[in-house]
Amino acid sequence: MELMQLTAVELGKKIRAGEVSVQEATKASLERLKAVEDKVNGFITVDEVGALKRAEEVQVKIDSGELTGPLAGVPVAIKDNMCVAGMLTTCGSKILSNFKPTYTATAVEKLVEAGAVVIGKTNMDEFAMGSTSETSYYGETKNPWNLDRVPGGSSGGSAAVVAAEEVSYALGSDTGGSIRQPAGFCGVTGIKPTYGRVSRYGLVAYGSSLDQIGPLAKDVTDCATILEVICGKDDKDSTSVAEKNADFTSALIDDVKGLKIGIPRGYFLTGIDLEVKEHVLAAAKVLEAKGAIVEEFDLGLVEYAIPAYYIIASAEASSNLERFDGVKYGYRTESFSDLHNMYKKTRSEGFGAEVKRRIMLGSFVLSSGYYDAYYMKALRTKALIKKEFDKAFEKYDVILGPVAPTTAPKLGESLSDPIKMYLGDVYTVSVNLAGLPGISVPCGIDSNGLPIGLQLLGKHFDEKTIIRAAYAFEQTRTYERSTLAKEGNA
């Protein structure tokens, strides 16, 4: 059990040193998982047989010297919107409840090539549309800090299983904050890389111009290590980029002297919890004490980020989800009168309410007569938002702010007011619109015992700077284990 308290890098080290076998590590993960999953419900699919088999194979390769990387033998969970060949890939939806792809997402393949042991697929908001993981067809995931609370979304399952110590690390996806916000709600670290860093091949598309895959783990070192493995240009993804500055682990240096940090004034004016505000600003002070130069500034167009995001993401989603039609794979309605009736019934029965809402919204903004007023305008706004960030990054190296205006809400309280839920994305969506990298690290616990996340944003392809700043900040704290983790072994 203690093996699951280690970070991925620590466990990887022990495995390579021969102190722990891959099978032992995998068994520890599976045991832990069995002990808490009925409480957490973080997984949709657990592949016990496959994982144990794989563990043996990896051990052989480590012994022979074929696998020498830092993640070899370490157990990982993959968000269920990334295809893993032969494994159920549901995207948290009924419409893919029987779908087993014959191919694996490139990012996952890279991990597997590095010796990862995939334990299973994690729960998520259906098709990544949501901020609480409550829209999943497979039930809610609970926050390991408080089982009455949401873990965040849409990568809620990934964040929860890391916080509950069921796996050493996980992959999530982030379109409007879906890695960073659950990381914040669950007290773990998560990175959304620069758009184009990590291949999207095999990631079931939601908002194609916004989606990115990224790591969730206990600390910055883990996240940097994982990102190094999964990033890179992929011939199967035209939007992936080969870019330098990918030696992320070289940025794990406790030094922020002279680092220019900008804090958008407008982030703290309204709608933010007092305790969240206090902790985030305190974090800024910590960095200042370490030699960073911290300054408030005005970031423009903040109020347009959410409308632009929902228009663009929904528009792309409405098109990306057209392929789910009962013709080729997935769920098909049982009885139907003709082709279009089959489409209608399959999709009405197969999709949940939030997905339908966004498909309708997306179809509307792309429709003739409204395309210019909504979609084109949103695209122009996106370009302007990026310009605002470019302007800010002329002055600052890092932009600092909260991940969310609150800590984790209670289960069952968010879905009835979708607009309010959408507004909770205010700190994260603009980052996806601008394509910038962002990291979320824990910066405190509120009076309800819930984690607060600190977000650091960097320039395009400058993950190294935010990794360095996050690492330096992290050195001033100790990792706090979730309530559920502590119950396991105090």
């Binding site: 995207c91 792809p101 598309a205 939007t239 392929r323 279009h340 003739s368 395309y371 979609y375």
Partner: protein
Amino acid sequence: MMSKHYETVIGLEVHVELATKTKIFCGCSTEFGGAPNVHTCPVCTGMPGSLPVLNLEVVNKAIAVGLATNCTITQNCKFDRKNYFYPDNPQNYQISQLYYPICRDGKVEIEVDGQKKFIGIHEIHMEEDAGKLIHDPNTGNSMVDYNRSGVPLIEIVSEPDMRSAEEVLAYLDKLRLIIQYLGASDCKMNEGSMRADVNLSVREVGASEYGTRTEMKNLNSFKAIARAIANERERQIELIERGEQVVQETRRWDDTKEYSYAMRSKEDAQDYRYFPDPDLVPILIDDAWLLRIKEAQPELRDEKRIRYKEEYDIPEYDIDIITGTKHMADIFEETIALGANPKKVSNWLMVETMRLLKEKEMDAEDISFTADNLAKLIKLVDSKAINGSVAKEVFEHIFAENIDPEQYVETHGLKTVNDEGALRATIQEIVANNPQSVADFKSGKEKAIGFLVGQTMKAMKGKADPGMVNQILREELSK
């Protein structure tokens, strides 16, 4: 007559399947045929998480066609998604180009009845083909084959500049020739690598505004197109004469019944919700790229016509036929390059080849014999190793099986007997055995010699040179 007062206005949307080895957005083979769904992958079957990756050869061919049709190339162009639900479309959207098509504002020259005219090309864009649906009448089930899904197409949209079926066919023929010559496609209507939809309206001669147009689909041959145009023109005129409105709609042509019926109204046309495909990056075509394509452009049909006229002493009519397909022109040029006399090559193509093509209902594109073997045949005739009628017989085998004529002549013992002595002896015998014909000839009936030549050839089992036979025969007869 009423129809004299009406002008037909026609525009065409032509889809051409590009002859690339692999599909437009994935590495699957574009090979025709094969068992259903063997040339597929996650991309062209719309699997979750799959992404399109552009095959640059498609762009190269599209640019080549655009340059050869005098278009302006859109040097920063994009792909857009056209969204509609139909099972032959695995993602339920087709990746096409609406906002920034790769070519614009071109034109091609056609000639009808000696009159030359330019037909404008509004735009050319790249898009992906859909799969094939097969409906089983027994079970009522439909099945889909995605082999064709993702095959690259260019769509060539003309201006409504055509005024008759003849102009339409001339335009299609011109396009076909240009595209074939570029090697961009084989443009076979009967195989579906070239498809045409006809947009037609009528208006009174002299009117300034266009009438309401209909779109006609399912036109699978030049003849069907001509019939459909005539039929639709009459149908629209009748409606107008009766005081009714022509409805803007899509009509499906039934060539066996020779009539069309409405498929769907263009007014209720679906909103395709076009938007730029976020999985594909813009295509930036710089001047250097354009220059490379331009420089690689092979000699096109019109250029060949001019060159053949200057270089070879063959009639224009023959030149037109020979250059009528790139394949035949290639064979012509290759055979000449092997040393054969151009006039003789032309003759073999114009007479025997054309005859056999017609007889076997084949297209010139399907010619399967090589220049090599044709050149050898001509050499055999030139050296008098075989005579004309033997050559014709051998050619039939060359045409059917591309046999090597030298080997064939050897194996079958078809060489002309050139021994003058043996020939004279045979002729003397024929003269002796046919006194009536001899007498007829001597009394002035020139034709009688034909019989004697025939008899000689028969006796020689065809293996004599008719010229020599004639000459020796006359010598003997004049004795």
